[in-house]
Subunit: 366 residues, 2 copies
């Protein structure tokens, strides 16, 4: 196989999970969608450009001078807002950890064919934007409303369905106080790849929900039937299973790989003696209650540091390790306040969604 950009017609026609090697289409997605190198877990706020991005189609070219946000559907007063009008509304700041629902997909066997993430589809940013409920209040949502659809300017075809990227959320979730229409990330206007001029933020949910390049908010009397809502982003056993929709981020911890790497294998080398193992943990539907570190199969509780970044961002943790020479296997797993704990053997699902397998790192201590 050459890793050429020419299509593999067989793969294009059949997107069933594969037991085979990585294919060129996966590589095309991997070279254009960046993950967060895990050493960047050291930063409270992920520096600009290191936050993961997953862009289904192309980054659209939006001119803020002519861009408008339309708010319509079951509302009393449809709105048509300019970029300046949005930025003039009372805004709030929130630090939010985002993770792609497909993170970890490439570890599954058979492997669902889509962006082949390993562990790095994460990031935490300081967002600023207008609480959505204020905009919806201004529009006057009908009492018949049940669902709110968010449409982006990104356009393409996915599994034969031509579309503008769109996702919906139930009205009660849309009205939560933490939901923002964000126009700043890390104290700067949104970058093109993160949704300029405006994106949705539904803190706690997997990344597919935070619609970028927003153009329209539509209020519906019935559940939205778009592709990204009804076809993509489901926990399914097989092609015929209806399954359960992907929503909030599952509990997860990740560790900064200690020591230094080999360029190609990324195997780690660590000096013997006291090593501080550090990482972050987050939970989308609850809160982080516990982080454990596994060293050669033995679990020890890490110190879980205070949640200084707020309820919707990762928490840091650390553990002192007296590293003796030789090869060691490190892992970490978090438990949330509901008692959900990360698996050490990943349950499989048909689309490769919501993987939160405990991270594994092989190190050689010298």
């Amino acid at each position: 196989m050459t890793a050429d950009a020419k299509l593999s017609p067989k793969a294009a026609a059949s997107l069933l999970p594969t037991e085979g090697p990585l294919i060129p289409e996966e590589l095309q997605l991997a070279t254009r969608n960046g993950g967060m190198p895990l050493e960047a877990l050291r930063y409270d706020i992920t520096p600009v450009g290191l936050h993961y991005q997953l862009i289904h189609f192309d980054i659209p070219d939006v001119d803020p001078a002519t861009w408008r946000l339309r708010v319509d559907g079951l509302v009393e007063r449809p709105l048509d807002l300019s970029y300046d009008e949005i930025r003039a509304l009372p805004a709030e700041k929130l630090t939010v950890t985002l993770e792609c629902a497909g993170n970890g997909r490439a570890r599954l066997f058979p492997r669902p064919l889509s962006m082949p993430w390993l562990n790095e589809a994460i990031g935490t940013a300081r967002w600023r934007g207008v609480p959505l409920h204020r905009v919806l209040d201004r529009a006057g949502v009908s009492r018949k409303a049940v669902d709110v659809v968010f449409t982006g300017a990104d356009h393409g075809i996915e599994k034969g369905c031509e579309q503008d990227y769109a996702r919906s959320i139930q009205l009660d979730d849309a009205l939560r106080p933490e939901v923002l229409l964000a126009f700043e990330m890390n104290d700067q206007p949104l970058l093109p790849q993160h949704g300029f001029p405006l994106r949705l933020l539904i803190p706690g949910w997997y990344g597919m929900m935070h619609v970028k390049w927003l153009t329209r908010i539509e209020v519906l009397a019935q559940p939205f039937d778009g592709y990204q809502q009804q076809v993509a982003y489901w926990y399914k056993k097989d092609a015929n299973d209806r399954g359960e929709p992907v929503k909030r981020m599952r509990i997860r911890a990740l560790m900064v790989p200690p020591g230094f790497p080999d360029y190609f294998t990324r195997h780690r080398y660590v000096e013997h003696g006291l090593v501080i193992l550090r990482g972050r943990a987050w939970a989308g539907k609850s809160s982080v209650a516990r982080v454990e570190v596994g060293i050669d199969g033995k679990w020890t509780d890490a110190v879980l540091h205070e949640a200084t970044l707020g309820a919707f961002a990762w928490r840091s943790w650390s553990l002192e390790w007296n590293a003796g020479p030789g090869d060691h296997e490190l892992t970490c797993r978090a438990t949330d306040a509901d008692g959900d704990v990360q698996p050490t053997k990943q349950p499989w699902n048909f689309q490769g969604m919501g993987n939160n397998l405990a991270q594994q790192i092989s190190v050689t201590v010298r």
Copy 2:
């Protein structure tokens, strides 16, 4: 094969070019090293976070308060400069296009094993920094000097060789007026992944020369014998060929893929009628003289726009295309002022360096 982060011992031991499929080690590199999505060719200056990055080891954690740049070796007055001292020196701005020497590697057959770039290891930034010759003048370079070595804070192992990343350049090249010690990128302090607090910029050269996270500049009386200079980055026919060192960027043009994509295959769909094909072209050892666009095998000269970004950055080009319904193959190739033209069939080399194969895009016009 599962795309797990666990090492494949066979691949780790033998880094010979492969005729086989993509391996997990290549995926690990692809998910942590981001390319520039080609629609970003639309921007004169690549927005922050969309510029490609290739990081051999880890992004180092540098504290600017304690960081120092040492200038020593064959100099009369060794220097030890703080971040504030560097930033207080007279600085200059320069717009520079960078390309990874391994760009296009994944298209070769057999495929050299390293970061599996397709076309996207590029970017153009507005850099600001101190001309290197001023710092070297201040240190007083010995008349015996022939080579200048630049060492970064990034540490790791590559093909069995433990090292801080380091590259050298001959003294006369180091003294060229466009060579900068850069501390700003796109009007902001360098981001961690781009070399904070200070990186080298040798405009016109492939990316390996622009050493990030600089800690030391050493002047030598003989050529530097480090790994990245003597082992990596050579044009070689086979393992035993000494070959030629990789230096300046070869002539290249790239096109914004027109229309919109299919998510997984990235196949393009275009509306029929007038389409403006647009792109950029650059040349590291000369200047861009011509860009041609191939449509279904027929070459037409594109309009080469003025070099508004200076001598070291890409130039934009465009061509009007009256697109008729059906499937079409688009390509583009540039020619430099020396008459070098991009190949439409890529010559192979052992490390996968300096590939400038004409880009190919399949589109369906409807």
